[in-house]
Amino acid sequence: MSGDIARDAVGDYRYGFHDPENATIRFDKGLSEQVVRDISELKNEPEWMTEIRVKAYHRFMEMPMPSWGNCDMLNQIDFDAVTYFLRSSEGTEKDWDDVPDDIKNTFDRLGIPEAEQKWLGGVTAQYESEAVYHSIREDLEEQGVLFFDMDSGLKEHPDIVKKYFCSVVPASDNKFSALNTAVWSGGSFIYVPKGVHVEMPVQAYFRINAKNMGQFERTLIIADEGSSIHYVEGCTAPTYSTESLHSAVVELIAMEGAKIRYSTVQNWSANVYNLVTKRGIAHSNATIEWVDGNIGSKLTMKYPAVILKGEGAHAEVISVAYAGKGQHQDAGAKVHHLAPNTTSNILSKSISKNGGRSSYRGMLQVTPKAKGCRSKVICDALMLDADSQSDTYPTMEVGNSSADLEHEASVSKVSNDQLFYLMSRGHSEEEAMGMIVNGFFEPFTRELPMEYAVELNRLLELEMEGAIG
């Protein structure tokens, strides 16, 4: 099996290989107002963007670390040891053959060009700070769909960016959104015109290659009235003994009757801090769906959020988290019901193994104006051994009595009877565990494009190997 060969080469984490660093521009480590101004100048940005960045930088310096999540791990982050900008290619190419060989090889190994040919409507591939490859199917372009890497989006459509940038996630939302706003680079910019349905998913792939790298992509997706789009992102990084920082901000705007689905499978190596702010605004009768999988990283703190602003809007947040040795997945969801007859479903599933820790942190808010809304929250945790940890921090703020709210939570263990049953069918204990784990995550994986679902199941099976004794 090819997976075994790859694993032998790089240890348990299959994507832990790295390329030589051939940076064309690499900033010195550490952060200052000058670094922020330099990034903006290098990108020839309009002055208003430079001002947003500088202001955000000062907010970042003033704001305290979050006092929740995992303070011990957060306080280990050495912001002076991070490289905030690294350019590895002269430009963003439209043909894989024009991408530098070593970078192209990396994406080949990750299967991106192959996936693009088979089932994607567009692809952006980001390597370190910037996109190295970008393409969109012609038919989508003809329908007026705008799909750019964020830097190009700002150049080509500054009016749209200016209108919506920071409109969903203000710089001052939290320390890491301030940091991202100050030093952002790359990410995706998408605008779907009224009534246009993008049938094939578009994908972004984020790869960190260098040591001590900070990746700060910024994504903005606007689906105009009655339109729809499915955006998929994947992330990996090499395994180093020193830490890297990934701190993204994603803003979604679904206009009246529009639908945005945003799917993530985050498989960072276990030396990456993954501190991400994701939030969308759903106008009347619009739908926003976050399908969010967290498998890798050292510490993830991420709570995809939906603001249900218009009547009849709907939010769906399906998330899974897998926490293995030395990992803490602090994930969850936030839904704010601001308008009448809005509905939401939150399904969170987590697995902890080998002393890993997974936490569900959720916020459900119903304002006095939001009459007749409905919400259902389900949190299931599965513990694979006694050393692991799972905790739940649900918060509800309910401002009127007409809301119909359900909350279910369960913590379970794999039973000996289940294992015995599967083993009596010829499966080793590890294989049996893999089946149970894949089954537990099935409500999530069935929402993913098939290629992603297969990959995720395979990943989890690898995680089960060599871990039982």
Partner: protein, 242 residues
């Protein structure tokens, strides 16, 4: 093929089996009958290797190999099969996927191709009067008692064991289900040994045993032919104990 010598088994320091000896050859059907708590199910589970049971003395050999040297999945791959009295549910795992993976695990190099597998599957499911919608459901999740037992027999037919252990496969079945399950068992017995754990004579109307063993208090106290089951049904167990 299977030989059990003076087997003693405990659960949590309570002795359940107290000296059981039994030999099963290829092509033989053995029925083990007895009251609740007599140790019948323990016998089936300990042969398959359930971790809750501890063999305190005695020995079980399968095709000459001591079972204590074999893991549960190795026993399955060597040709042993247990039809569970209470099969576990595996939420999120579809029956179709589960069957395909199990067949390739157990039958290894001799596993059928995808196309042959589909054909085999269809013919067995037709015989067991199972709708193909079964395949998309999660393993035993929300299944009725009868559906669970049919799925057990379907697995037995696909995995094609040389030793089938059937733990109260007849309990909770209506008369039609009992008939199709019995036909399933009969279809493998010419080429397999079979141990039927049962409370009732009625399965034995459809599956004719070569030997009937009566288990009381962790021991086989009497062995006879098919007529012994008929007598037990009519007269109960008291006459044996007396």
């Amino acid at each position: 093929m299977l030989s059990i010598e003076n087997l003693h088994v405990s659960v949590d320091d309570t002795e359940i089996l107290r000296g059981v000896s039994l030999r099963i050859n290829l092509g033989e059907v053995h029925a083990v009958m007895g009251r609740n708590g007599s140790g019948k199910s323990t016998l089936a589970n300990v042969i398959m290797g359930h971790p809750a049971y501890e063999i305190t003395s005695g020995d079980i050999k399968f095709k000459g190999t001591p079972l204590k040297e074999m893991e549960v999945f190795e026993r399955a791959r060597a040709g042993m099969f247990l039809s569970f009295q209470y099969p576990s549910s595996i939420p999120g795992v579809q029956v179709g996927t589960f069957l395909r993976k199990s067949v390739s695990a157990v039958r290894g190099d001799e596993a059928p191709t995808a196309r042959e597998f589909r054909k085999e599957l269809k013919s067995h499911m037709d015989a067991l009067e199972m709708d193909k919608s079964f395949l998309a459901r999660y393993v035993n999740d929300g299944f009725s008692g009868g559906e669970k037992k049919r799925l057990e027999i379907l697995q037995m037919l696909l995995l094609n064991p040389t030793l089938a252990l059937l733990d109260e496969t007849d309990s909770g079945l209506d008369i039609d289900a009992l008939r199709v399950v019995a036909e399933g068992i009969n279809s493998i017995t010419p080429r397999a040994g079979c141990l039927l754990i049962t409370h009732y004579q009625r399965l034995l109307d459809h599956v004719k045993p070569d030997y009937v063993h009566v288990m009381i208090d962790g021991k086989i106290v009497k062995t006879g032919g098919a007529d012994l089951a008929v007598k037990l049904e009519a007269q109960g167990y008291d006459w044996i104990e007396a």
